[in-house]
Symmetry: C2
Subunit: 358 residues, 2 copies
C-alpha cells in the first residue's frame, strides 16, 4: 500500500493493494466485464480494508451503468411478491446486477417517491407492480427520462412504452368459477377487494389497462357466470379490504345470507386465509356442505384439512420474465425496441376443498 | 414555466411551475424540513411534469443527508422479516426517510455487495440482519467509513460499534422446552438448522455474538434439558436445511427412531410447516400421540387442526426498535454515542398441539 496517499483511497490504491491492474480493479468493483473470481475477491478485500468507496455517479459516467435495478412492489410480505422477487434476483445477480427493493404498502404516493429516489440513485431500470394501475404518469415520465420500466403484474394506463409481464387474471378466476359450475354449484360467493367495481365490470369491455388483478378476477367470475347463462347476484359478491379480518367478515356475510352460497371463491391468498377461517368457525363441513377455492399455492393450503383447491399463479416465473425483459432492454440496442407484452397462465390445482353440490 | 430553459430543468424551474419558493421546492423534493402537504404535492407534480431529476449527490452535499436508509435481510419471503421491515418503514416514512431493501438469500458475499452498493448510493445508515454473524468485517468497515449500522436479529463478531436489536432466542427456545417438560415429556425432539453446532453449544459459555438465532435456540433447548437434569441425546436433534422438504425429512427421521420423541420443537416457521406436514403424514394424532411446537405466530398456525402452539416473536417491534435506533443515531449529536443493545422477549402461545404425555 502506498504511504503517500492522502485523503480517500483511490482506485489505484486498491489495485496496488490487490496486486492487480487498475482496469481489473475497476471491473471488479464495477461489477462489469470479465474478472476471475480470485482477482475479484482480492480487489473487494483490498477495497474493504482501505475503506474505498466507489463513486457511483463517476462510475456510471464511465460505464454508462450503475448495475443496479430497482424493484417496487405493493406488499413484500405477500408470498406472491416474495417469489416474484426471487425470480427477478435469480436473473439479475448472475448478470452482475444488484437489486434495490421498495415496498409501497399499496400507496401510490409512496410509489411516486420510490421512483424518484431510484432515479436519483441512478438505477439502470425499474420493475414495478403499480399500486394504482389507473395512475401511471410518474412511470411514463420515468421512461421519458430514459429509465426503462417493466410493469409487473399490472398494466398501467397511459404507459404504453413499457414492457409488461402479467398473469391472465381474468382467465384464472374464470377457470376457478367454471370448475365450481361443473361441480353443480349455482350460487357461488366471491370474496374480493374489487366489489366497488361491480357495476363497471358488468358492462361489456375487455380493457385490462388500469385495472388491478382483483378487478380482472372479478370480471373473470362475472363472465363465467354469464357464459353459463346464470344470473349475477350482487349479494354474492362480498367486498373485503386487504386483510384477513376483513375477509373473515366478508365470508361471514356470505354465509349469513338468507340463501347462502354453496361455494366460495377467494381471489387472493390473504383473503383466502381469512375466509377459510370463517368457514371453519361457521361449523359448515368442507367440502360436504360448502366448497372453497383460494388463490396462490402457499404451504398452508396443503396443511389444512381438507387441503385447499387453489389457483396457482406462476409467481416465480413472473419475476424471472420481468427480470429478463429489463436486462434485455438494458443490453444495448433494444432500448427503443417495441414494448413486449408477456401474459402468463395460472393453473387450477384441484384438491379436497371442492366437491359436487349436494 | 420559463421558456428560456435549455437542457435539464432546474430546481428553479420546478419552484416556478409549482408557484412556491425555491427553498420550499428544495425541501419538498429533498424530503426534509416543514412543507405543507399541498405545497409538497404541487412541487412533486411540477417536478414530475418537467422531468426534473434531483442529483442525490448534490443534494446530500447541501443537506448532509440523502434521507434513505438501507435494509439488508436474509430472506424477504420469511414473514418474520416481512413484518420487521414493516416496523422499520413505519418509523422511517413518517420521518421522511425512504427505505431501500436488499435480500441476500443468506449469502454473505451478497451482503458484502449490498453494503457496498448502499454505501455508493449514499444511504444515511444501514439496518442489517447478518447472513453470517461470525463474519462482520465489511460491517465494521462500513461503520468506520461513517455509515451507521444497526444490527437486526443477530449480533455480529467484531462489530462492537453498532447498535443491536435482537430477540432473546435462547430464552425463547428454553421456555418452549420447559413447557414440554412441564407436560411430562422427557424425549423432546428438535428440528433445527444448527445441528452441526451441537458439540460446540453443549460446552459451557454464554457468548451470543457471532451466533445465528438457530444456534442460540439450540443452546436454549440444551440448557433447559440440563437444568431439568435430563440427558441430552444427540439423536433427538435433527438437522434440516432452511426449506420445508428438508424439515419434513428431519422430522421423519425423529419419528422413525427406535424410541421416538413424544414431542417435537421446531425452531423456525419454515421448519415448523415441513415438520407439521411430516407428523400429519405419519398418522400420529396431535396432541394425543405427539406434541408439536412451532416458531412464529403465522396465520396458518391457527388454520390447521389442532392449532399450533408457537413461540411468537415480536417481529414488528424488532423492526420498529431498529428503525428508531438508526434514526436516533442519524438525528445529529448521538453519532458517537455509546452503542445501544436492545433485547426483546418472545412469547409462548399455548394452543392445541401440545398436551400431557400419555
Amino acid at each position: 500500500m502506498t504511504t503517500e496517499r492522502t485523503g480517500s483511497p483511490s482506485l489505484i490504491d486498491v489495485a496496488r493493494a490487490a496486486e492487480v491492474s487498475t482496469a481489473t480493479a475497476g471491473r471488479a468493483l464495477g461489477g462489469y466485464g470479465q474478472v476471475s473470481e480470485r482477482a475479484r475477491e482480492r480487489v473487494l478485500r483490498a477495497a474493504a480494508e482501505l475503506g474505498y468507496r466507489t463513486n457511483s455517479l463517476a462510475r456510471s459516467m464511465i460505464t454508462g451503468s450503475t448495475h443496479t435495478i430497482g424493484v417496487i412492489v405493493t406488499d413484500v410480505a405477500n408470498p406472491f411478491f416474495a417469489m416474484a422477487l426471487r425470480g427477478i434476483t435469480d436473473v439479475a445477480h448472475p448478470a452482475g446486477f444488484e437489486v434495490l427493493l421498495v415496498n409501497t404498502g399499496r400507496n401510490v404516493e409512496a410509489e411516486q417517491r420510490a421512483v424518484t429516489v431510484m432515479s436519483e440513485k441512478r438505477v439502470d431500470g425499474i420493475i414495478v407492480a403499480a399500486a394504482r394501475p389507473s395512475r401511471g404518469r410518474h412511470l411514463k415520465q420515468t421512461i421519458d427520462a430514459g429509465v426503462p420500466v417493466v410493469l409487473l403484474d399490472r398494466e398501467v394506463s397511459g404507459v404504453s412504452e413499457a414492457d409488461t409481464v402479467t398473469i391472465d387474471n381474468e382467465h384464472a378466476a374464470g377457470e376457478a368459477t367454471r370448475h365450481l359450475l361443473e361441480l353443480g354449484h349455482r350460487r357461488i360467493g366471491l370474496v374480493t377487494e374489487a366489489g366497488d367495481e361491480f357495476d363497471r365490470l358488468r358492462r361489456p369491455g375487455n380493457r385490462r389497462k388500469g385495472l388491478l388483478p382483483s378487478a380482472l378476477r372479478l370480471r373473470g367470475y362475472l363472465r363465467a357466470l354469464e357464459d353459463a347463462g346464470l344470473p349475477v347476484e350482487e349479494s354474492l359478491v362480498a367486498t373485503a379490504r386487504y386483510d384477513r379480518e376483513s375477509a373473515y367478515e366478508a365470508a361471514g356475510r356470505l354465509l349469513a345470507l338468507p340463501e347462502p352460497p354453496s361455494a366460495v371463491l377467494c381471489t387472493d391468498n390473504v383473503l383466502a386465509s381469512g375466509a377459510y377461517r370463517a368457514v371453519q368457525d361457521s361449523g359448515l363441513r368442507i367440502p360436504e356442505e360448502i366448497s372453497v377455492v383460494g388463490f396462490d399455492d402457499e404451504p398452508w393450503t396443503t396443511l389444512v384439512r381438507p387441503a385447499l383447491t387453489v389457483v396457482e399463479q406462476p409467481d416465480y416465473e413472473l419475476g424471472l420474465r420481468a427480470g429478463r425483459q429489463l436486462l434485455h432492454r438494458l443490453d444495448g440496442g433494444s432500448g427503443s425496441a417495441k414494448p413486449q407484452s408477456v401474459r402468463l397462465r395460472a393453473t387450477l390445482v384441484v384438491r379436497d376443498s371442492t366437491a359436487c353440490r349436494r
